[in-house]
Symmetry: C2
Subunit: 216 residues, 2 copies
DNA sequence: GTCAGTGACTGACTTGCGGTCAGTTTGAGG
DNA sequence: CCTCAAACTGACCGCAAGTCAGTCACTGAC
């Protein structure tokens, strides 16, 4: 039965084609501008077919986000290898996350939507479980970097890595959220400010807060 | 023409009634659960009437949020008066903001929606200009506290108050965003963690980052 | 007293979009 | 050829925001 194998390949290919279409539209029109009708049109399928591959819109978005994290992870992992200390690793990790986010501004809004959403996003789908796993992996990299820093002495010994990782992650998300909308923010925040320096400023604060030695 | 004055009062009262209805529904069902039909029903008006008082849903939400900030501001301002130093003031300001947010969990999601929203939220309405002004006022309190800290020596002299205030504000928003959804987060974040300590942990980091002296 | 004018209000309707499902097409196996 | 199943289709549904032509109630001029 080589047929079944080919069917499976074709199914995977279709799925990828739908993801490509969705990703393209998200990049063009933003997360909210992406419409299921548009995805169907772009992927040259009917709308109903989309629902044979993804339970609903949120599941499709989760799958797109998962693919993006999978592309980001190698960069982050290599950045961690280049780091001289654990403290340096934390800094590089966050910086890489932000750089990648800046290149894919619309997609990562998904993560923010999810966190900001109280109830409205459907995170019960299988696609979402997978996404959740990737988030966990990202967090574990932060935890590992913190532990590494405690071992090499660059990070204070009295911190608890897991809660601290979550604090780093959530506070950084706020910064990224604003950084994502630099142009819009300029009008949005009712004072003139150079948002370009926001991320370096935040990272500086992170280093000061974590550092075992005196601040530079 | 006492008639015009009475008409004006009645108009204001209607507007307040609509705001009350909207706020009640947001508190009950969350920001996304609030429906214009529901607001009309609760306020004992027809839906069309709502649009005589508010340009659209977003404008109505902005007006609700504005009212809430107006209730929060006195608390924050008295907290600033109680503060012993500028550094202490920053800490108290953020803490009060979080406490109030925790009591009104749904409403402040509006701020997050707005910041996280790339394009979808209509912030061109008059109600939104007013809301924007309140946000600016909040920010100015942070700036003032930072300057106070630099004067009394509790905060490093080399920081630039305005960008730093924005960094403080945005990073804290990320923490609040997660703190708002404590219950949901427990399932959402794929690791077990006590989110209750997230805010204190963050505030500790803020103090370490801003402090002119050594960390405690 | 009455009646035209004005602002407040109404609710049926339109629109946009996520999601559904009964029916059609395709192609492998007999 | 015929049969069966999987893939696919697109007309349709429900929901909620937003619109607008029409009604109502009060006011003040005559």
């Amino acid at each position: 039965m080589a047929v079944a194998a080919r069917r499976e390949r074709e199914r995977t290919a279709r799925r990828e084609a739908i993801l490509d279409a969705a990703q393209e539209l998200i990049a063009e029109q933003g997360y909210h501008g992406m419409r299921m009708d548009g995805v169907a049109e772009t992927a040259e399928l009917s709308k109903g077919t989309l629902y044979l591959y993804f339970e609903n819109r949120d599941a499709l978005c989760a799958a797109v986000a998962t693919r993006l994290i999978d592309r980001l992870l190698p960069f982050i992992e290599s950045a961690l290898e280049d780091a001289s200390t654990g403290l340096d690793a934390v800094q590089r990790l966050l910086q890489k996350y932000y750089d990648f986010t800046e290149e894919n501004p619309h997609h990562f809004r998904f993560a923010i939507e999810w966190l900001g959403a109280g109830e409205r996003m459907d995170d019960s789908t299988e696609a979402f479980q997978i996404y959740r796993g990737r988030v966990g992996h990202m967090l574990s990299l932060v935890v590992a970097s913190l532990q590494r820093g405690q071992t090499d002495g660059s990070i204070r010994a009295d911190i608890d890595p897991l809660p601290q990782a979550i604090q780093l992650w959530t506070s950084f998300l706020g910064v990224v959220m604003v950084g994502l909308n630099k142009e819009a923010m300029a009008q949005r925040i009712p004072v003139p400010v150079d948002l370009e320096q926001l991320v370096p400023l935040h990272l500086d604060g992170v280093v000061r807060a974590l550092s075992s030695g005196g601040a530079s």
